[in-house]
């Protein structure tokens, strides 16, 4: 038995194209948490996945010391609370924390939802809505992020909201190039563009996020096969 037997004992049930899975991977890497990454076959769910997340049967799931945690935002909160020392993610201030959670929730309700519908409609729907919502996010960045300190909501280093948004840095270009999604221009959202640029350059993100080319292949294959094991259905 050659496993690293730390009292940490961290396992991630993952699915590489899932933006929710990417968030958790990124949080683990930012904090330097050793973990076992177990990619899941969502068309043939493992006993471990079904036992670890019996309610939703979705990825990602983090298993820490044998106890499972599900839902990406909840998992990242957990990671931040258990390993607070390195790369703290949630702000100290209660009001700022509420803002990070609010914009994460906004992203889920609006932007993620628009992208979902865009994909399902094969590129026919909601592009305009998506742009309007990105403009709102740009506004949030202007309000919450200190441009002098750095490109992220967290300034020079990534914070909770940056981690939650990071997968868009690869997903939006993939959808743009494969399905003709029109993202916001650099003139419309200069800081958001800078943020996503900084994400793709970040050493932890380079490992946690798949290459855009791989995502493009994945998207293309799904379009061709009409196989509806889609990201949105597959993970929360």
């Amino acid at each position: 038995m050659a496993m690293a037997c730390h009292d940490q004992d961290v396992t991630l049930l993952s699915f590489w194209p899932s933006p929710f899975s990417m968030r958790v991977k990124l949080a683990l890497l930012l904090k330097g948490i050793e973990h076992e990454d177990l990619p899941q076959d969502l068309g043939n769910k493992s006993k471990l996945l079904l036992e670890s997340n019996p309610v939703h049967k979705k990825v990602p799931v983090l298993i820490h010391k044998g106890k499972p945690i599900a839902e990406s935002a909840i998992i990242v909160h957990y990671i931040d609370e258990v390993w607070p020392g390195t790369s703290p993610l949630l702000p100290q201030d209660a009001f700022l924390r509420a803002q990070h959670r609010f914009w994460t929730d906004f992203f889920e309700k609006k932007i993620s939802d628009s992208l979902d519908r865009f994909i399902r409609s094969n590129g026919a729907a909601v592009n305009e809505e998506f742009i309007q919502d990105c403009l709102l996010l740009e506004g949030a960045l202007a309000e919450l992020g200190d441009e002098e300190e750095g490109p992220f909501f967290g300034g020079a280093s990534m914070s909770f909201l940056d981690v939650m948004l990071a997968p868009s840095a690869v997903w939006i270009p993939a959808l743009e190039q494969v399905m003709g999604l029109k993202p916001t221009s650099q003139e419309q959202c200069p800081r958001l563009h800078k943020l996503f640029g900084a994400v793709t350059e970040h050493p932890s993100a380079k490992v946690a996020l798949p290459q855009i080319e791989k995502l493009k292949e994945f998207t293309q294959a799904r379009l061709v096969s009409d196989h509806h094991v889609w990201i949105a259905k597959a993970s929360p």
Binding site: V55, H64, K67, I69, A70, E71, I74, I75, H77, Y78, E81, V82, A94, F95, R97, A98, R101, F102, D105, F106, L136
Partner: protein, 228 residues
């Protein structure tokens, strides 16, 4: 206890609004309440929540916080005592957050579809989904806090506060959607939980009458059918 001015913008029957009331009342925090007319929203609401223009909104020292679970989390941070809602242990905290989130994703969603269903097929699906969701809660209570009344054990925690507002809507789900809650023989934990929640004075304080809520559910349904 005073930590500045606290104001709540809400609507009497809103489950999301009730979460905020419950959190503040359990902690004995004084606040000003403003009932919103959802067909004629106040300037204050529109300025406090420009993204969604929805209630509830908590305005603390002039700063607005939106989205009910985010508000409850905030309240628990600013007024940790008395009655801390989120457990200290990170795993227990994650479990509490999970079930609160489950309330939104599964219970509220099914209940909302039930009331607004325009076909029998929609109604039946929503009813089944609601039944499944409540069954999961019954199971969870048995696993997480066996032989205890609440998710939080002897007292209400974050998950209890998130889910408690559904209780006053059960009559409405029955009246409008024909949803009949299985009895205590089938769901002992859920029923024990409902009885325990209803016995908490702080909860009784702002919970509206189930009959009034059921009437209101009827109004929502009529509007949904009318516009279908």
């Amino acid at each position: 206890m005073s930590k500045g001015s606290v104001k709540v913008l809400s609507f009497w029957s809103s489950m999301f609004g009730l979460r905020v009331h419950y959190a503040l009342d359990l902690k004995g925090v004084s606040y000003e309440y403003q009932e919103e007319n959802l067909f004629n929203k106040s300037k204050e609401l529109l300025e406090a929540n420009p993204i969604y223009a929805k209630i509830p909104v908590l305005i603390h020292n002039g700063k607005p916080i939106c989205e009910s679970l985010i508000i409850v989390d905030y309240i628990d941070s600013v007024w940790p005592n008395p009655h801390k809602l989120l457990p200290e242990d990170p795993y227990k905290k994650a479990v509490a957050r999970f079930w609160a989130d489950f309330g939104d994703k599964k219970v509220y969603d099914a209940g909302s579809r039930l009331i607004r269903a325009t076909t029998e097929e929609e109604r039946k699906k929503a009813s089944e989904d609601l039944k499944w969701a409540l069954m999961k809660i019954d199971e969870a209570l048995g696993t997480i806090a066996p032989r205890k009344p609440f998710f939080g054990g002897d007292s209400m925690n974050f998950a209890d506060v998130a889910l408690a507002p559904f209780i006053c809507w059960f009559k409405g789900y029955q009246k409008v959607g024909g949803f009949v809650l299985p009895g205590p023989e089938e769901w002992p934990n859920l029923h024990k939980w409902v009885t325990a929640v209803k016995s908490v004075e702080a909860i009784r304080k702002s919970t509206p009458s189930e009959d009034k809520v059921a009437e209101f559910a009827e109004v929502i349904r009529k509007r949904a059918i009318g516009s279908a």
